[in-house]
Symmetry: C2
Subunit: 236 residues, 2 copies
């Protein structure tokens, strides 16, 4: 388990990191093979979790009635949220395609169950949110594994969690964390859709890294890496 | 961007997924090369984020006074949380090594700044927690990239976020999401430490996958994948 990664293995890993996209527009109807889907789920299940609590569940959905109800919730929430933004951004926002609920062959709700292996979970007493954070790590494993298998994934967060809980019959204590759309795609875009559309720019790495404390962008103990980061190398 | 992954690229990706560990005991003092550290940070920065808000910051720490303060907070919180668990589990819990704050050459605090590109962020009006979830995706990218580069990482969630905010001078609105220890290791364990110690077992994949709604473990539309998952193939 300690041997180094070969160059080709590293390349495979970074290819997944840099070519992963949030997919909304490019789904095709081709079904996902069961073996691929189980590989992707298994990668998610091998995420880290606080106190090894593995507090996630994965609800696979293809029932079209369920999808329609979720899509309705999306429409309602998109309309509601558009009231929060002024023109000309509002029209731009409304023109974006932001989900692929009906077109994608598989929808997947990922949930957090705080009662699993509880109530005492190592590492969750001081920071209770740590359980939720574990579920997000599983989602990112899932997303990257999907990309590796050639499957696109889009995370829909414009919807009502109350509707989700109701439609999927989640118990009161279970939290829906993500509603995901999965399927083959006709392409993975070069860049995030919102970057291409000029909605927001990608920040430079130097803008998100601080040294020793908040907002410290210069520190003599970190001169060399600070220079490397400023060169903003494209490692992709 | 749409070409398939080769077998060797896939293997590299899955090797990262299955050999990643939460490291506490195996740090060695060898410094992390600046180029490796910036590659790891760049992988984190290329995580998905709600509305492309990139709401993360990464605070690199090697100052020993800072580390000592965080270690003190850990000791205090570990002691406090041990009161929540009964013997014989309590003694077992207290015997675990749960952090490598002082031994690891680099500590890293990952934070969430909800004000970035705000207040209107696409996809965050209905589910405000989506911003925090993005930061967790970045942490998982970082964790996997570290593994690929042969660097161990341990997430310390037994500490006080108030202390963290104070020591790192975080503004009131910024949320500390993770405190991470990074460094070379003498080994990556075969299994998670808490599994090896018999604290908790790894769940089987079939125990975390439902079909169409909560708790539904059998559904005729999902028979084939249900069988595959029950075989609990070890894809690692």
């Amino acid at each position: 388990m300690t041997e180094d990664f070969t160059e080709s293995e590293k390349n495979g890993f970074y290819k997944a990191i840099y070519s992963r996209r949030d997919v909304r527009s490019h789904f095709v109807s081709k079904a996902i093979e069961d073996e691929k889907l189980s590989k992707i789920l298994n990668a998610a299940h091998h995420a880290p979790s606080v106190g090894f609590s593995q507090p996630w569940n994965f609800i696979l959905i293809k029932n079209s009635e369920t999808k329609k109800k979720i899509k309705e919730s999306f429409e309602k929430e998109k309309d509601r949220s558009s009231q929060l933004v002024e023109e000309p951004k509002k029209s731009k926002y409304l023109s974006f395609k932001l989900e692929g609920i009906l077109e994608s062959p598989v929808n997947l709700c990922v949930t957090y169950d705080p009662s699993k292996f509880g109530p005492f979970v190592i590492g969750r007493s001081s920071i209770p949110e740590a359980g939720l954070y574990s579920v997000c790590c599983a989602i990112q494993n899932l997303w990257l594994a999907a990309r590796t298998e050639g499957i696109g994934l889009g995370w829909v967060s414009i919807l009502s969690n109350d509707t989700l809980k109701d439609v999927l019959e989640l118990p009161e204590h279970v939290v829906p964390v993500a509603y995901l759309c999965l399927g083959y795609v006709d392409e993975f875009a070069e860049k995030p859709d919102l970057e291409t559309a000029g909605w927001l720019p990608r920040l430079e790495l130097k803008d998100v890294v601080y040294f020793e404390k908040w907002n410290e962008q210069k520190n003599s103990d970190w001169d060399n890496i600070s220079k490397l980061i400023k060169e903003n190398l494209d490692y992709a």
